[in-house]
């Protein structure tokens, strides 16, 4: 990071930033709590758009509005172009705004950004566009905080490569902003949840589904004692917020044409299309809250005004293929991580599209009931999905703002971050109600070392001398097929299904008898046996397992409340 902008810790004012293709967001911390800042327009989700009109620069929501009247001088959907060669960008989303082109080997946009009527248009590299946009974000954050913001932690997708990261840092530096650290988006979301005062730090497998405008990114994260390891990721550019807008655009365009058979299709002229898109997105958002939403555009096509409504069920039916694509994406990344839905403790819904109630309720159906689905429509304690990234970034910024830049570099270096993670869980053997030996996990698989965990386990009812058997364990999924049904019963069911067409729309698999799937622990390799003697009736035994960085293991156990105890060490 030679030449990067560096600010001395004492001189810093820090924020957390998300910088998306669709929206950006700013957060800061007060008393260790992260807060998302509204800009001067009152927006907390600030469209990542710049627009030039008569030499004035607009950004955010105001620039977004200019997509209708001034698309050629409006630059949108550019974040993913940073650090990329022209031939590797996907310009799909730039049809209705300034087009990216190749100039001197870099992705650029040509816009009229000067006041003079006859001034030549300017060609701006994507880096310059990013710098100008980030400068506006920093400006509004500085205004809000009443002091000049100097430094930020910025979130990036997990598949951002080194070149993209370097380009983003350079663009921020050119806007006079020090980048303290780039952190990955799903981890920022996980941190935003874990930093809440009521949160319990526990070992858990978390799936973060970040559903945005132009992309859907899903990550499986092993969260171990408050530390995060990404086990697998998947990225999709098809099943996203823009696809949902398109569904409503087509729906309302068809409605319009039905009512106005002789009018021109609004999708066939640029302004009609832009109006359709703008209003469809607003309607889509309204459908996340209400069961009905209205749609109304003045002079949609041929000067004809159009107003309509749509209910949520209709919208969900039309959008089914997008929702199913998102489901498949989530299922595929869990598989890629070598896990099963039964292994997932928590699903964090992040990003604007994650507000969609149907997406959350579909997840509730994919995962077992014990999995927490953290979305506004399924959990009253959920954090606003649109704010998770910025909050996580702000929390990280406040954690490291006192560090010298060099210390941050060292702490984030591969020498510190690349560590062994144990393959199998480590635990002890206990007895279930049926008197069978079962595995009790103490340190779960995919825990980074060094690690230490302590549990208390009940002693046998009458106390006495107790055996603590330390073992490895792992899980498998046990599938029990349903009892085959008598024939008559089955045909009756088929008729039923045909009758309730509307209902069966989303619940196809509920028509079939479901197989039972459960996660079962298997006791593996024995590591050690220890005796805890003379435990009192109703007593408990404390077990501590510490795995060292060299994979040697220290085992200790004793009666809870007693002194001394037994200690042993396994070699690496």
């Amino acid at each position: 990071m030679s030449g990067a902008k560096v600010v001395a810790p004492a001189d810093r004012t820090v924020i957390g930033l998300t910088f998306g293709n669709s929206n950006s967001s700013i957060a800061y911390t007060v008393d260790d709590k992260a807060e998302v800042i509204a800009n001067e327009d009152g927006d907390r989700q600030i469209p990542t758009i710049l627009s030039y009109v008569d030499g004035d620069e607009y950004y955010g929501q105001q620039a977004k509005a200019f997509l209708i009247r001034n698309p050629d001088n409006t630059v949108a959907y550019f974040r993913d172009f940073l650090g990329k060669d022209f031939e590797h960008i996907d310009p799909t989303h730039n049809h209705a705004s300034a087009h990216p082109k190749e100039v001197d080997g870099t992705v650029s946009f040509t816009v009229k950004d000067k006041a003079e009527e006859d001034a030549e248009p300017s060609t701006l590299s994507v880096s310059e566009v990013a710098t100008r946009y980030l400068r506006r974000l920093v400006g509004s954050a500085s205004d809000y905080l009443g002091k000049k913001v100097t430094s930020a932690v910025v979130t990036v997708p997990t598949n951002f490569n080194d070149k993209q990261k370097a380009a983003l840092i350079a663009a921020a530096n050119a806007a006079d902003l020090e980048v303290l650290q780039l952190i990955s988006e799903p981890v920022a979301a996980a941190l935003a949840y874990d930093a809440r005062p009521e949160a319990q730090i526990e070992d858990k497998i978390v799936v973060v589904a970040d559903l945005g405008g132009t992309r859907s990114d899903v990550a499986v994260v092993a969260s171990r004692g408050g530390m995060y390891t990404v086990l697998a990721t998947a990225h999709d550019y098809e099943f996203n917020g823009v696809a949902l807008d398109k569904i409503l655009m087509d729906h309302f365009a068809k409605e319009f044409l039905k009512r106005n058979p002789s009018a021109k299709d609004p999708r066939e002229n640029a302004r009609g299309l832009a109006k359709l898109k703008f209003e469809s997105e607003a309607t889509k958002r309204a459908l996340s809250i209400g069961a009905n939403a209205s749609f109304s555009v003045e002079s949609l096509s041929d000067g004809i005004d159009f107003a309509s409504t749509i209910n949520r069920l209709r919208y969900e039916t039309l959008s089914r293929s997008v929702f199913e694509g998102i489901n498949r994406l989530v299922e595929s990344v869990i598989k890629k991580a070598g896990l099963d839905v039964l292994d997932v403790d928590e699903v964090i819904l992040s990003g604007g599209t994650a507000h969609t109630p149907r997406i959350a309720s579909n997840f509730s159906n994919i995962f077992p009931q014990t999995t927490r689905i953290l979305a506004p429509s399924t959990n009253p304690y959920a954090i606003n999905p649109s704010e998770l990234g910025a909050r996580g970034a702000a929390l990280q910024a406040s954690l490291i703002q006192e560090y010298e830049a060099e210390d941050i570099d060292q702490s984030t270096h591969a020498a510190v971050t690349t560590v062994a993670h144990i393959t199998n869980a480590i635990g002890v053997v206990s007895l279930n109600a049926a008197g069978e030996e079962i595995f009790v996990p103490v340190v779960p698989a995919e825990t980074a070392v060094p690690a230490r965990r302590t549990v208390q386990v009940a002693a046998p009812k009458d106390g006495g001398d107790v055996l603590v058997r330390f073992v490895e364990g792992n899980t498998h999924i046990k599938v029990t097929q349903p009892e085959p049904k008598p024939k008559e019963d089955k045909s009756a069911k088929v008729e039923d299904a045909a009758d309730s067409d509307a209902e069966s729309d989303f619940s196809d698999d509920e028509e079939e008898e479901e197989e039972k799937r459960e996660k079962v622990w298997k006791i593996g390799n024995t590591l050690a046996e220890a005796a805890v003697r003379g435990v009192k009736k109703g007593g408990k035994v404390e077990v501590t397992i510490q795995v060292n960085a060299d994979l040697s293991v220290i085992l200790t156990t004793r009666e809870v409340g007693a002194k001394g105890g037994v200690r042993g060490q396994l070699s690496a």
Binding site: L399, I422, A458, A530, G568, A572
Partner: protein, 63 residues
């Protein structure tokens, strides 16, 4: 971690005649590990990085 988990299912009784030096018998060792990348994010990672950089142990860190 703040709270210690309590497991309700009981441990086994010590078999009759079981003995070992200092009451512990080492039998095996860990079967495997994978090198992976910890995300350098959050307070617990920073504590980890501190321990790693200063070669400190958990108990030294507790003090």
């Amino acid at each position: 971690m703040a709270t210690t988990a309590v497991v309700p299912t009981p441990l086994l009784a010590l078999p009759e005649g079981w003995t070992a030096e200092k009451d512990i018998q080492i039998i095996g060792k860990l079967s495997g590990a994978t090198q992976r990348t910890l995300e350098p994010v959050g307070p617990y990672f920073l504590a980890h990085a501190r321990r790693a950089r200063h070669k400190r142990t958990f108990s030294e860190d507790d003090r």
